[in-house]
């Protein structure tokens, strides 16, 4: 295995050009923490961007950050934390789920994976916060897209496409992101003992209110089998439904009281606040109930996205049919499912069921052989699949970048 360690953005261009000439596909990695996501890539050459790790500019008053793609998330987070700011899309740290070293991962990998956390329902995903990008395409050309301002419609919005493309379209070398001030105060309302469908209704009611809910999750009792850390304190009496309110003090208190009253028919809500609340949402964001080190560590894990109001019934049935465990985020719009091992990790069954509710599922954790055998990413209709292949070719006609990572049968 060739590992090519990049020193600067120019190196990336040169490496991709050389790869084109040598007809040598490249696997693009930062810290490599998410290499086990996707179809195993068809390459033996790795382009390592971890040395491309500088901060180009940070303007807290503009709420804008420009960093090189290989910059460690841990460093970036502490940098913006020093100005009391954060990424509003609450990017997931996959280390607990995938069993990699904690606090690792780069900003490039984070954007390429596009795995947004609980606040996505209010603030959007990685794609909504990526304002500009400099990258090298599979043509071996350095290009930029977007800009360094929040409001921009100049040319196609290539940033949207690159966020969540798992390194298959271009090698990002620098990204410009929107950052936001942290909330002054947060309160989480905790409802106890609701089944998945009732919890879904409670979350829909909360998200359909004017109380500006920034997190809506449900953990069935089964999620506490191996409960660790922050979640342990919540689950002793059974399932919990969590609704987060953030903002300035008086407003959060007012909204918490109003929402408690509005949801009275679902039971009496407890509260947890600030540090305790933050810890709970980090655990949900990072899916710690299914941690690699936990009791379900050997089970494949699916990330299912569906219309939020369909989530509760869907997840409950899926869990019952497969004997698996589920937890819900995004008011039911995101279901994490750890399913007992089987030949296809229940992919066929799961996706057939999802067709009825227009949802989709991605295998986030699965063994190498499993990921060689099934579609890791949700298969598209023929027309959309063909369009996606043309889009891929428009960035990377020789299929040099992360070949085969998003498609079971490589294109061409």
């Amino acid at each position: 295995m060739d590992i090519l360690k990049i020193r600067d953005a120019k190196d990336v261009e040169q490496a991709v050009q050389a790869a084109i000439a040598a007809e040598q596909p490249l696997e693009i990695v930062g810290h490599g923490t998410k290499r086990a996501v996707g179809q195993p890539t068809a390459t033996n050459a790795v382009l390592d961007l971890s040395a491309l790790n500088g901060v180009t500019s940070y303007e807290p008053n503009e709420l804008i950050l420009t960093v090189e793609a290989g910059a460690p998330m841990a460093d970036i987070k502490s940098l913006i934390d020093s100005k009391n700011q954060e990424f509003d899309f609450e990017p997931m740290d996959t280390s607990a789920l995938l069993g990699t070293a904690s606090l690792s991962g780069t900003i490039g990998g984070t954007i390429a994976a596009g795995l947004a956390g609980p606040r996505r329902i209010k603030s959007g995903g990685a794609r909504d916060h990526l304002l500009g990008v400099a990258a090298v395409s599979g043509f071996g050309e350095s290009f930029k897209a977007g800009g360094r301002v929040v409001k921009n419609v100049t040319g196609y919005d290539l940033c949207k496409l690159i966020a969540g493309s798992w390194g298959t379209l271009a090698v990002m070398t620098e990204v410009t992101l929107k950052v936001m001030p942290k909330a002054e105060h947060e309160v989480t309302l905790v409802l106890h003992g609701l089944d998945d469908v009732a919890a879904n209704r409670a979350m829909s009611a909360a998200l359909g209110s004017s109380f500006d809910v920034s997190g809506a999750a449900h953990l069935p009792q089964s999620a506490f089998r191996g409960a660790i850390g922050a979640l342990a304190s919540l689950g002793s009496q059974g399932s919990v439904t969590l609704l987060r309110l953030e903002g300035i003090g008086a407003s959060v208190t007012h909204r918490a009281n109003s929402l408690t009253a509005a949801l009275a028919s679902f039971g009496k809500a407890d509260r947890c606040e600030d540090t305790a609340s933050q810890a709970v949402w980090v655990a949900i964001r990072d899916v710690t109930p299914f941690a690699a080190s936990g009791p379900l560590g050997a089970w494949p894990v699916w990330r299912i996205v569906c219309p939020p109001a369909s989530g509760g019934a869907f997840g409950r049935e899926l869990a019952r049919e497969t004997g698996g465990d589920v937890i819900y985020d995004w008011g039911g719009g995101l279901i994490w499912a750890a399913l007992p091992p089987s030949a296809d990790a229940h992919a066929g069954h799961l996706r057939a069921k999802l067709a009825a509710i227009e949802g989709h599922a991605t295998l986030i954790r699965g063994s190498d052989p499993l990921r060689r055998a099934i579609d890791v990413f949700h298969p598209h209709s023929d027309g959309v699949a063909a369009l996606n292949r043309r889009v891929k070719s428009s960035f990377d006609p020789r299929d040099i970048l992360n070949r085969g990572r998003m498609t079971l049968v490589p294109p061409i």
Partner: protein, 497 residues
Amino acid sequence: MSIMMPVPDQAILDRRSSIVAALRAIVPGEGVIDSAAEMQPYESDGLTAYRQPPMVVVLPDTTEQVSRVLRYCHDNGIKVVPRGAGTSLSGGALPLADGVLLGMGKFKRIRDIDYENRTVVTEPGVTNLAISQAVAHEGFYYAPDPSSQIACTIGGNIGENSGGVHCLKYGMTTNNVLGCEIVLISGEILRVGSKAPEQAGYDLMGIITGSEGLLGVVTEVTVRILKKPETARALMIGFPQVEASGECVARVIGAGIIPGGMEIMDKPAIHAAEAFVHAGYPLDVEALLIVELDGPAVEVDELILRVEKIARDCGATTLQISNSEQERLLFWAGRKAAFPAVGRISPDYLCMDGTIPRGKLPQALARIRELSEKYGLGVANVFHAGDGNLHPLILYDANKPGEMDKAEAFGADILRACVEFGGVLTGEHGVGVEKRDLMPEMFSDIDLAQQMRLKCAFDPQGLLNPGKVFPTLHRCAELGRVHVHGGKLAFPDLPRF
């Protein structure tokens, strides 16, 4: 017209009557318009400086018809210009002499309202405002609110990635759409996204939004709706210098306050607006800042105090706080009417749309003043100050020889300055024909080639809305060529491990 459009294809024009007949076979009755008089309303969009009658207008009312029209045009090499309500300020719907103008105005039905999932599924010809009105009785609304919202359609909003006063806090169109049905130029009908909060695979919705009608024709849209905030109040703050108002905006944002809207008007804009709507604007200030805060009353009250303090620290000389919904709307009335108000004081005006980093506002204003003197043309400024989006209105008289050219040159210089200050050519109006030839100010040939390659993935013959967005057209075969460098010498000087 001072902009070059693709040269009309005489062979196509020669076949006009058979093309019209073929289109009539697809869209019967009054859905095909070919008389000069009836086509006149379609000659121009909101950028009225440019006019061009189309070859023929087609107004389909089903997805199937759209598909058949596009397939016919594709098979026969005929150009197509999609159009919503025709409110584009950048000439996005400017017709082509040898092109079919595809009007989507008959797609007027809201198909599904789903409060549980907080979504609306609608046809593209529904106006932006009509979506909010359809859900208002349940206290919901659709957040993006371009000033033209009473007329502009959601399909056009997708094309342009429209913004509005409230996008500072609630995002642009792209942040508020979940999915669509789109017809490619080949006639193929695709579904992208759904009511789910995120799409599978590549974010095609993200690329379709803001593509200015160059990638496909949207025939159905799924948008997110939000519950209305409990309350909203506005502050109207006067400053003796424009720079101080800019500083105030930067400090509000820097303090972690994201208002629902934050707008600046300069003195000429204030005077024009006040004369037009009598909103009670102070006339002795150089800049007026309107800050709207929304949310629960306790939050709004608290934030008003914080903004008030920041404003006073920045040297505000007048400050009013709305105490009723009527008063809040009055504060906004002048701002919302700023364009027509300026239209009253000048025979013509050109509305620019650059974005700059917020902190560069004072420099940008100084530059606009210099340019105003250089060109000898007046300018009134309104800004979406919270997100650095400038709307300088250049005042001119099209009847005076050469003045329109001078206004356009002035506008181009403003946009060049925006790029120089680290900003962009357009914040919300789109590139269209208006800013097309300025694209190289912001993008290299390679940057533009990459965008055009994506266009090729959707429309390899370049039949959809040619002459917009890209200053020069290239063949897809040429764009798709890979230049192989350096022979077989793999990875020459990279360290290996």
